[in-house]
């Protein structure tokens, strides 16, 4: 008699909500990894998420946890307010690159510098997705967007910001790494990193951030498969994957 094994199901951390993300977008993958980690750590009941403004503005629809919705870029400040009065809760922000690296640069840098004991999931897909694909601080040199139609000219439009590298210089940061979502192996590595980031928080070891290189097929104007290739061939070389800061105490964590 044949037995059926359930190999794939909606994690407990998710609500029963159809996705609003475009086909081929890796936001869904990132969401799932966060939900799985929160479930595996058994912290769904005490988690409060902070949603950004951008494509993931509706992040609060998907996670089966309490959620608040921040103004554009202000999620780290809002998370600071939540965490400081509820230090025993797990508090995370989920932010895109327009939100975190453009309008919210002040909030993220100072939350990291203060060593706020929060976790930041940072989606880097090299453009402003929600408003239709404008240039972001993370847009690659020469990359075409709706507001850099001839390709990003660094002479007039400046250089991309490498967020993980930059934040890793701050003493308040406990855990700061960059991962990618372009293939199964990297997705598994991303999940481990997300777990470590939340473990950092649950042990009170300071600010934690995972930068995730992600796709945006709709605004990049290429297929989902080619988007994954684009991440591998163009984004990973510019934004090297790696551990930018892992404090000694965090290195001792065994899961």
């Amino acid at each position: 008699m044949a037995t059926e094994n359930l190999v794939y199901d909606r994690p407990e951390g998710f609500t029963d909500t159809p996705t609003h993300y475009c086909p081929g977008c890796t936001h869904g993958v990132a969401h799932r990894l966060v939900a799985e980690v929160l479930e595996e750590m058994g912290v769904l009941e005490k988690t409060i998420g902070v949603a950004p403004v951008g494509c993931s503005v509706f992040a609060y629809n998907y996670f089966d946890t309490d959620f608040v919705e921040a103004p554009h870029g202000r999620a780290p400040a809002m998370a600071t307010g939540v965490k400081r009065v509820m230090p025993d809760r797990i508090v995370f922000t989920y932010q895109g690159d327009g939100d975190l690296a453009s309008i919210g640069m002040g909030e993220i840098v100072h939350a990291a510098a203060r060593g706020e004991n929060i976790t930041v999931i940072f989606i880097n897909n090299a453009n402003f997705g929600m408003t239709g694909g404008q240039m972001a601080p993370t847009t690659l040199p020469g990359m075409k967007t709706t507001s850099s139609p001839n390709g990003r000219d660094v002479e007039t439009q400046g250089y991309p910001i490498k967020v993980a590298e930059m934040l890793s210089t701050l003493d308040g940061v406990g855990y700061c790494v960059r991962r990618s979502l372009h293939d199964p192996k990297n997705i598994r590595l991303a999940k481990k990193a997300i777990r470590m980031a939340f473990e950092t928080q649950s042990r009170g070891l300071g600010f934690s951030m995972v930068e995730l290189l992600s796709t945006c097929p709709t605004n990049w104007g290429i297929t989902p498969v080619n988007s994954l290739k684009f991440v591998e061939e163009h984004m990973v070389p510019f934004y090297p994957l790696g551990d930018y800061k892992i404090s000694e105490a965090i290195k001792q964590i065994k899961i």
Partner: protein, 370 residues
């Protein structure tokens, strides 16, 4: 409690602590910095939260986050800093969470100066942030009143899930007066049915957001807030009357301008002029009805402010052109002397007043010929 000598800003800080303030987030700016400094000592001493934010933007969003958890939370600033907070203020209003904000107003616009002014009346009372919302705005005229209204502001904010703003000018913030502090209230976390303090195995998840993506839903929210505002208008109007029983001239002023006007009114009374003072304490909700009733028996109004006549327009709305309204203001951080207001009372008592000229135009005309 016995009376003690308190500086306005520090008195506000201590009053907030005694009202159960659990978290304060702020940024230095003159002339309110003593609130921040005082709480940087006081809050940690009591095991409560104090964070000096990276900016007023940071501060107001920390307030927003903490407010969502349902605790008593406050920030304070002065005019340019309040402008920076307007984004967060609109979001807090749109999310219907309670928060207390203190604005120790200074001369403006722009960087202006650090002298006492009332130029943020319109920003506080008539909006400031985007969208449809109205905060409750309280205007103390003394250190004692600043203490009492700060304590009250937390109750009002929670009762109506609204922003309650205390607006004062640098005079009240900086001066020292004998005042009595309320008893220390312990920190108390209410069991709200709306706050996002995590499920904790007790309930379904909650989301707090100012997003209503369906216009019809946003309209419902707008109407809910508006109807709540009508209750606030019906129940929470506060003001102080002085010598109004037989007053033929009614002076209207809030905060420091109202207090200075009181000196002028007392002097005029000693001279036998039938003049009284109405000092709005809630400038929002504004005491329209009180002024409406006074219009039936007063000959004229004199509005006096430390701005270019912002509350003046609200007084005119209440008077509805039935009797003359005159205006006297000082701007840019200049504080009027009682004599200046007394001169206006003398002029009004002696001359025939016009209903036809806008009071601000007439005032500017007089200034030009002074």
């Amino acid at each position: 409690m016995p009376k003690e000598l308190w500086k306005g800003n520090e008195a506000i800080a201590e009053a907030a602590v005694r009202a159960g303030l659990e978290a304060y987030f702020g940024y230095p700016i003159t002339p309110q910095t003593e609130i921040l400094e005082y709480l940087s000592r006081r809050m940690p001493e009591l095991g409560r939260t104090f964070v000096q934010a990276e900016s007023e933007l940071g501060a107001i969003n920390m307030v927003y986050g903490a407010a969502c958890t349902g605790v008593r939370v406050m920030s304070s600033s002065s005019s340019p800093g309040m402008s920076l907070m307007m984004e967060g203020i609109s979001y807090i209003a749109g999310t219907e969470v309670p928060a207390v904000l203190v604005n120790v107003m200074r001369g403006g616009p722009g960087l202006g100066n650090i002298a006492p002014a009332q130029g943020d009346y319109n920003q506080a009372v008539h909006g400031g942030g985007h969208g449809d919302y109205q905060p409750i705005v309280l205007a103390p005229a003394s250190v004692q009143e600043a203490i009492d209204l700060t304590a009250l502001s937390f109750d009002l904010a929670e009762k109506y899930r609204a922003i309650c703003m205390v607006i004062l000018d640098g005079c009240v913030g900086q001066m020292m007066e004998p005042a009595e502090m309320p008893e220390m209230k312990p920190v108390h976390r209410e069991n709200w049915d709306w706050n996002t303090d995590a499920k904790m195995g007790k309930r379904k998840r909650r989301v707090l957001s100012s997003i209503y993506i369906e216009p019809a839903e946003e309209e419902k929210m707008n109407l809910r807030v508006l109807n709540r505002w009508r209750t606030i208008e019906a129940k929470e109007v506060r003001y102080k009357e002085y010598f109004l029983d037989d007053a033929e001239i009614v002076v209207v002023g809030f905060g420091t301008a109202g207090r200075i006007a009181l000196s002028a009114v007392r002097e005029a009374r000693a001279e036998g002029i039938k003049v009284g003072l109405l000092r709005p304490i809630t400038v929002s909700p504004f005491p329209y009805k009180v002024i409406d009733q006074l219009t039936a028996r007063a000959d004229a109004f004199l509005v006096t402010e430390m701005n270019s006549g912002q509350m003046l327009e609200d007084v005119r709305l209440a008077v509805k052109g039935r009797v003359p309204v005159e205006f006297y203001g000082r701007l840019g951080g200049v504080v009027p002397f009682p004599d200046e207001i007394l001169n206006e009372i003398h002029r009004m008592a002696k001359s025939k007043l016009s209903l036809d000229v806008h009071p601000r135009d007439a005032w500017l005309e007089r200034m030009a010929h002074a």
